[in-house]
């Protein structure tokens, strides 16, 4: 498999890198196309490895992948993804390539639920044009939360809406590498192959770009530093609400919040869910795949609680096609996201740029690893207010200044918009301008070689070295 962008001239990069992940590259054998007839309301489930070519083409009929319709007779490269191509009226697919698993499934009741959910949101948008639905999708991992979010967004876009999607899982980025917390108002068509498409680049894109606002949470799970996570939630909610006020159409379309599965934890997660609901003024909670979570939420927010009754809690069953994405797959996915951030995809290949910077010319913070104090720090911090937290006690600080070291090699460095000498909380709450990849640290000459997505320098910004996501050793050599 050709890896885009790795043989670019002028970058001092090796021209024949080994693939970064997933075992040996298979020789490009001539694949035989095969046809699959799907009856109405059936779906084609597949798990394609990253290293395998896997192409699907609709020969006739209508088919969709998580709400995004596939064009007839267009090949879609679904390598490295796990999903289900669903058809309402039946269709014929032509499939090329090998997948780890593929089969036609008939148990697709979830599709009706998802479509009805879309209908509910449309009804709400029509009924209350000035107060669109604000949906929170919660549930354990691997139950299809992100897929539902994507389907709801895609259908809303199809209906001419501009929904705002908020992705809060640091393990998987949206329009950015992992550890991004993203909010994006989807104003244009979604993409079959990679969902939300691509964030703005300097050239033309095959799918219209989506402009996200990215924040950075440098840990795997919200539970590691709940206070930091909540502060970021407050921040995202503030920006998103402001934006919706600016754009009535977006406000009417509402928002869809995709919460990480790790919030499904009464001990550590519920407080964060509560914070999330109040910060975003959520008025519809969708709980997938967890009876207990649904009951807990319904008890607290449901219509019969006697409160304003503004929040509806609905329960969806876990789709049969939702399968666990194991740690190895997730790691590969993250690697691919990082790679795509710098090098783009096969559709839009990008040229990253090298920057050599001396140790003295930058200030790098490190996100301190979560430790035992977390519990105390995060407890009863219900109404987090960033402005009141400015005198952060040093032991509670999120970040500490470090000297670049070889340990950084292969990691991501986050460029925050705030100046390099900002307060701890400012660094924490500041939005992300971009990511750098540490290609090389020369401790002797006190220089770091970065890979940057853009040729222009970033100026005097706070740089944060996050141990999360994990280092990718051979993005460049």
């Amino acid at each position: 498999m050709a890896l885009p962008g790795l043989s670019l001239p002028g970058l001092g990069l090796a021209s024949t890198p080994a693939p970064a992940y997933g075992g040996p590259t298979q020789p490009p054998t001539e694949q035989v196309a095969r046809r699959e007839e799907l009856p109405a309301q059936a779906e084609w489930r597949f798990e394609a490895a990253f290293t395998q070519q896997y192409t699907v083409r609709v020969l006739h009929g209508h088919a969709e992948l998580f709400g995004v319709e596939l064009a007839t007779n267009q090949p879609y490269n679904l390598s490295g993804s796990k999903g289900a191509i669903f058809t309402w009226q039946g269709c014929q697919l032509e499939i090329t390539g090998e997948a780890e698993s593929e089969y036609a499934a008939q148990e697709t009741e979830y599709a009706i639920e998802w479509l009805n959910l879309h209908g509910m949101l449309e009804t709400a948008r029509d009924d209350r044009p000035t107060d669109g639905p604000r949906v929170l999708v919660v549930g354990p991992d691997h139950v299809g939360k992100s897929s539902l979010t994507r389907a709801l967004a895609a259908r809303a876009v199809k209906a001419g809406r501009t929904p705002t999607v908020i992705s809060l899982d640091p393990r998987e980025g949206l329009l950015g590498p992992p550890s991004s917390l993203t909010t994006v108002t989807v104003g244009s068509q979604m993409d079959v192959e990679n969902g939300f498409g691509i964030s703005p680049i300097s050239g033309p894109t095959v799918t219209p770009v989506k402009t996200p606002l990215i924040y950075h949470y440098p840990y795997t799970s919200p539970a590691e530093r709940p206070a930091v996570y909540k502060a970021l939630l407050t921040r995202i909610a503030l920006s998103t609400m402001n934006k919706l006020e600016e754009e009535p159409a977006a406000k009417q379309s509402g928002m869809i919040i995709d919460a990480p599965g790790s919030l499904n934890d009464p001990k550590n997660g519920y407080e964060t869910i509560h914070h999330l609901i109040s910060e975003f003024s959520v008025n519809l909670i969708i709980s997938i795949g967890s009876e207990r979570l649904y009951n807990d939420l319904n008890r607290r927010y449901g219509a019969n609680t006697g409160s304003d009754g503004a929040i509806t809690v609905l329960k969806l069953s876990k789709p049969g096609g939702a399968i666990e994405r194991d740690a190895g797959y997730m790691k590969q996915l993250r690697t691919r996201q990082i790679r795509q951030y710098f090098f783009g995809s096969s559709k839009e290949s990008l040229s990253p740029h090298s920057h050599m910077i001396g140790f003295d010319d930058m200030i790098i913070y490190r996100a301190k690893p979560a430790s035992g104090e977390v519990e105390k720090y995060g407890a009863d911090d219900d109404d987090y207010d960033p402005s009141s937290s400015s005198p952060v006690v040093s032991t509670n600080a999120t970040f500490e200044k470090i000297t670049p070291s070889a340990a950084m090699t292969g990691s991501l460095i986050v460029i925050k918009f705030c100046p390099s000498s900002s307060e701890d909380y400012a660094v924490r709450d500041s939005a992300v301008m971009g990511y750098l990849y540490v290609a090389d640290v020369d401790e002797a000459r006190k220089k770091v070689r970065f890979l940057a997505p853009h040729p222009q320098r970033w100026g005097d910004r706070a740089l944060v070295w996050a141990q999360w996501p994990e280092a990718v050793a051979d993005l460049v050599t």
């Binding site: 319709e69 267009q74 639920e113 300097s202 033309p204 402009t211 921040r235 754009e247 990008l350 320098r457």
Partner: protein, 712 residues
């Protein structure tokens, strides 16, 4: 300064400047005043121009124009007070009946100042002599009294007109709705009753003073001595006016048609109007028929958005209202407008006007056979009864049309049709209907241009339904009730309950596909099957083409942009470049970007040689540059003129020098040219080109600028 200039020229310049006056702009008004002052010797001509302008300009611009008058008489005084004072009644009242209540208040305030001395002046004489202002005051008082009486009588026999009774105050303002109703709709249904009484042989409202006449009719005690100073010969006037009105209407429809060439209903409407015009020009029609036609035309023109108010009965230049708000347009002001019934006409029920069912099918050719109309009119001209059956038959439909345009129709024809309309009337009615002037019967509730509804889901038994949905008919499947199927695809209504989650809703599925049948083959995106949908798809395909042609050439150089920060993101809107038209701002920005000669470029010619790659003026070579937006190598600051390439800046320099020279040798420009230029440079004009950074096409460029700013 311009003593030798002929009056015509000065007047023409003055008129042009007046036409630029759109809002109450102190600067422009004082400018116009100065012009009047400096050209006092042309006062008769300028007064005429000003008077004519006030008459003919759009209602929304009348007040600024009146303020010009006010400013001139107060700051310049004689001889303008003399010239303008003579026709002051007409000028004032004509405008007064047309403007909205707020403007009337301003006008009344202005009138009040005219009865007082000029502010700051030593002269104790009022601005205008009482001879001039008194008639206006009287008319306003009468109008007010009449309005109150009318309101009372109307309330006695009709549902109350939604107008608060006006408390008696210092202002003489009439109830605006009443006045509109009267002046626009109140064709006296039984004109014979009034006509002999006031010596008006026909029932057309006195053009100069329609409202005043109405008031007189309701107040029989009024003395005719306070009538308008210049009576008009009516018979000739009417047909000319009617012709004017039709011509104006044709202009308006033409304009609409020009901006919307695909609208076949406009085309038919235009055709019908042109035919009507021909008939009126070529044939002598009795007054009664003319009256009826006129009513229709008035109503129709009032129903057209850009239509100048027909009630002026004066040739009005079709000027589009500069203010976008619909409320500011001259229209009956209250949306909840009830048909005023100023006369104790027996309330007519609309059904009695319903056309015979035989006229339902419109003919394919919406033309008026002239002999047909002649026959029809001949059938009515033998009696004094003005209720031409044919036209009256068309009336309810026209009323329906008006109702669709936001206000209720007047029920003005007093009696139901005495006889079934002549066969010709079918044709006329059908022609009018086919032309789009009339909605299909029944008129009252029909929606114009209703969006074609997608086929409603069929009512099927549950087994069939589930079969359709691809599910085996399970016993447990909740039966699909008619109520659940009742949602047509566009009107989605899914209750927000857990129970409704599980219900299959085929209409939602068809909402995904069938409601947007027009699909892009390369990306699967769907578009509506409407004209707009087709346009969007065309733009979308263009976009695909642009992307596919430019992507290959540029694939190596592109890189990911930095993300936006919060503030910027909040105010940034992703424009769907793949289907949205470039906004006006973008075009403006593009034009502005083009302005600087340094920004002009041409693609590097394929046959560029060292000899041709230098500017013939300065002999320097062109700069090769990769242009990101154009996606090709270009010469910046270059322009191709007559086969040779120059530096755009050099070329402009030379051109300017040349212009300068020729200007000096030319005859001097018009006396007011310079000042006009100043007027047109008001903030109103320069403020047009606000460039928004968010624009689609300017997007890339601007974000690059942003980055430069951020990182520098």
């Amino acid at each position: 300064m311009s003593a030798s200039l002929p009056s015509d020229e000065v007047a023409a310049d003055f008129r042009d400047s007046l036409q630029d006056l759109q809002i109450n702009n102190r600067y422009e008004i004082s400018n116009l005043t100065i012009i009047a002052k400096e050209n006092a010797e042309h006062a008769p001509a300028l007064s005429r121009v000003l008077q004519h302008h006030i008459k003919t300009t759009a209602p929304s611009r009348k007040l600024p124009a009146l303020y010009v008058l006010d400013s001139i008489v107060k700051n310049v005084g004689s001889p303008y007070t003399l010239y303008l004072g003579q026709n002051l009644y007409q000028i004032f009242m004509d405008a007064y009946v047309l403007v909205d209540p707020t403007t009337r208040k301003s006008m009344e305030a202005m009138l009040k100042t005219w009865k007082e001395p000029v502010p700051g002046s030593m002269d104790p004489a009022p601005v205008f002599k009482p001879d001039f202002t008194k008639p206006i005051e009287n008319a306003l008082i009468r109008a007010r009294t009449a309005a109150i009486q009318q309101q009372q009588s109307a309330r006695a026999q009709n549902p109350p007109i939604p107008l608060p009774p006006r408390p008696s105050s210092a202002t003489y303002r009439d109830s605006p709705t009443q006045q509109h109703g009267i002046s626009r709709y109140a064709q006296p249904p039984v004109p014979q009753r009034h006509a002999p009484q006031y010596g008006y042989p026909n029932q057309m409202p006195t053009p100069q003073q329609p409202s005043a006449q109405q008031y007189e009719q309701s107040m029989h005690t009024l003395s005719p001595s306070v009538r308008e100073p210049q009576p008009i010969p009516h018979a000739a006037y009417d047909i000319n006016r009617l012709n004017d009105d039709i011509a104006r209407l044709i202009e308006v429809v033409k304009l609409q048609f020009a901006s919307n060439v695909f609208d076949s209903s406009l085309q038919m409407k235009l055709q019908a109007l042109l035919d009507l015009q021909n008939i009126l020009r070529s044939q002598q029609l009795p007054q009664e028929a003319l009256g009826q036609i006129k009513v229709q035309i008035d109503q129709l023109s009032a129903s057209l958005p850009q239509a100048p108010p027909s009630v002026t009965l004066l040739p009005t230049t079709p000027q589009s209202d500069p203010r976008p708000s619909a409320q500011l347009r001259w229209q009956p002001p209250t949306p909840s407008y009830q048909p005023p019934q100023p006369y104790p006409a027996p309330p007519q029920s609309v059904p009695s006007y319903q056309p015979p069912p035989s006229v339902q099918t419109p003919p394919s050719q919406p033309v008026f056979p002239s002999d047909m109309l002649a026959r029809l009119l001949a059938s009515t001209s033998n009696g004094p009864n003005p209720n031409t059956p044919t036209l009256r038959a068309a009336t309810p439909a026209l009323q329906g049309l008006q109702a669709l345009n936001g206000f209720a129709p007047p029920q003005h024809a007093a009696t139901p049709p005495a006889s079934t309309p002549a066969p010709a009337s079918h044709d006329l009615f059908a022609a009018l209907r086919a032309s789009g002037m009339l909605p299909p019967a029944p008129p009252a509730s029909a929606q114009p241009a209703q969006v074609p509804q997608p086929p409603r889901p069929l009512l099927l038994p549950p087994e069939l339904q589930s079969l359709l949905m691809g599910q085996p008919a399970k016993v447990g499947t909740p039966p699909i009730t008619a109520a659940q199927l009742a949602f047509a695809a566009p009107q989605i209504n899914v209750p927000l309950t857990a129970a409704s989650l599980k219900t299959p809703r085929p209409e939602l599925v068809s909402g995904l596909y069938d409601s947007q049948p027009n699909q892009c083959t390369s990306c699967g995106r769907r578009f509506l099957a409407t004209e707009e949908g087709r346009k969007r798809k065309a733009r979308h395909l263009d976009w695909h083409f642009r992307i596919s042609t430019s992507a290959d050439a540029h694939n190596l150089g592109q890189s990911r942009l930095w993300y936006q920060d919060d503030r910027e993101w909040i105010y940034y809107t992703d424009v769907d470049e793949s289907a949205e038209p470039p906004s006006d701002d973008t075009i403006a920005a593009a034009k502005q970007a083009k302005k600087g000669p340094k920004d002009q470029y041409i693609p590097i010619p394929a046959d560029a040689t060292p000899a041709t790659s230098a500017c013939p003026i300065c002999q320097e070579k062109f700069e090769n540059k990769w242009h990101e937006l154009a996606q090709e190598w270009v010469w910046m600051d270059a322009i191709k003129v007559g086969g040779r390439v120059y530096h755009a800046s050099c070329h402009e320099e030379v051109l300017n020098a040349h212009r300068e020279e020729s200007r000096r040798s030319m005859t001097p420009e018009s006396a007011l040219g310079k000042r006009k230029a100043e007027v047109s440079c008001s903030p109103l004009h320069t403020g047009v080109c606000v460039v928004r950074r968010e624009d689609a096409d300017a997007d890339l460029m601007s974000r690059r600028t942003y980055l430069t700013r951020e990182t520098s």
